[in-house]
Point group: C2
Chain length 253, copies 2
DNA sequence: TAGTGGTCTAGACCACAAT
DNA sequence: TTGTGGTCTAGACCACTAC
């Protein structure tokens, strides 16, 4: 490895990245094995692995134990979790839309329990810490593969004794219709989008390598200024994209 | 390190993560040095480093060469890049809003040049590959620190000979006002939000460690169904969050 | 000068997949 | 059985920071 001031592992990563971008290595192609790369570049295995790890975290390659390393299919194959602002229906169920639109089955599992609000959750729901909330953990699947984790919180006071006390137990799916059923007509939703490396549990559930980033969304549903549900969403960034369409008001000032 | 089937580096990471979450290690606290951790857990340095790298990529710690490793300030301190749907003004300049709102100066640098559209860009702008476009690379700063990279593309045919041919050279800042000035009244914007590890150039520009994810946004401005500008945005995920507010139409079906 | 994290070598054994 | 990537050891030297 001719040095140019840069660390060797970055030079290896740069070279391989360029070969992928240039198309010398195409989607599905096998990347040379670690042993071959050690030879090709004249570096130790740790250097090769550091380079490959960087490329994996960039979403460019896919390592498979026992088989080898392959160039990933690029962006166009990523699924979109889209939020349609123009639909007449008040449903707000991007995952269902995304999966049904592709003729796939949409499935989820959930586990619900009553608990008390932490300080952070209380703040998001504009209630007091210690107030009762219903906490529900969801796992969404498409074609048997886990694609999204979500944990939602609702003030228990809001839904106690109503038909929707059981989160998704009834026939009504989606937060907006469920809230509609008890007279809470959701007016808007806020989403804070961020990203980070997955926690081990998330990496396992979503079947991604540790280091491959996840997109996190903190979503809160409001009836006017009152929050009625808040949830934390986690999806694998190398497989999914969040899409937004934002209307720009006209210049009639 | 008592083994429980899990790799040692995950156990070390799990233990340190728990100490941070529990508050035993608080924001700003110094994490034990690599040498101390090797001793504490009875593992080699590479194991300690793999654990620390995971925590860094999760945004939990901050490594500083020569000084040590420290627990990061958590989410609430992150800045928001917010998109206000309700403002009367048609400006769409989230970075300015975010920085001005905090009484900070907002600065940017840009470099513009005419070139031809690649296949991907042509598709996003609904023009033909090879058509002329104006490509502009922006760097946004807040308090001298780089916070956002952006590369925008506009069809040259749209702006040729107009006062806004020079991207941000005139007094008009922001895409919506600029387009307004030439009679193009932007009706909506689409954003595709994703995340990945940064490229070396991005890590350097944004002053983040390789492995700390960036949020990428592919944003396109439309006049009715016609795209008039598209851009790629990159921000450090450990410092910034994108916020959306989405109105939910009422159930009057 | 001492302590920190950054890079790197040369090995080793393991788990998994293909043959 | 062979080749792959996953984990791990025991070192080494360097660059940066604080004293």
């Amino acid at each position: 490895m001719a040095h140019q001031g840069k660390p060797a592992y970055q030079q290896v990563a740069d070279d391989l990245r360029q070969r992928i971008i240039d198309g010398a290595l195409q989607a599905g192609d096998k990347v040379p094995s670690e042993a071959e790369l050690m030879n090709d570049y004249g570096v130790s295995r740790i250097v090769v692995r550091m380079a490959m790890e960087a490329l994996q975290n960039e979403g460019l390659i896919d390592k498979q134990q026992g088989k080898g390393t392959f160039v990933r299919a690029q962006r166009p194959l990523r699924k979109r979790l889209s939020v349609d602002l123009y639909g007449k229906r008040p449903t707000y169920s991007p995952m269902k839309r995304a999966t049904e639109a592709e003729g796939r089955r949409s499935e989820w599992e959930w586990q619900s329990r009553r608990t008390t609000a932490t300080k952070a959750i209380a703040e998001r729901l504009a209630i007091e810490p210690g107030d009762e909330v219903v906490k529900t953990a969801y796992q969404f699947f498409a074609d048997e593969q886990p694609i999204m984790l979500s944990t939602s919180y609702e003030p228990y006071a809001l839904i106690a004794g109503t038909p929707v006390e059981n989160p998704e137990g009834g026939a009504i799916t989606g937060v907006v219709p469920r809230m509609d059923a008890i007279g809470q007509h959701i007016t808007h939703v806020t989403e804070d989008v961020n990203a980070r490396a997955p926690r081990p549990y998330e990496a396992e559930q979503l079947e991604i390598a540790p280091g491959v980033p996840v997109i996190t969304v903190t979503r809160t549903y409001f009836v006017d200024e009152r929050p009625v549900e808040t949830c934390d969403i986690v999806v694998a960034a190398d497989r999914y994209t969040f899409s937004y369409t934002i209307p720009i008001p006209s210049h009639a000032d």
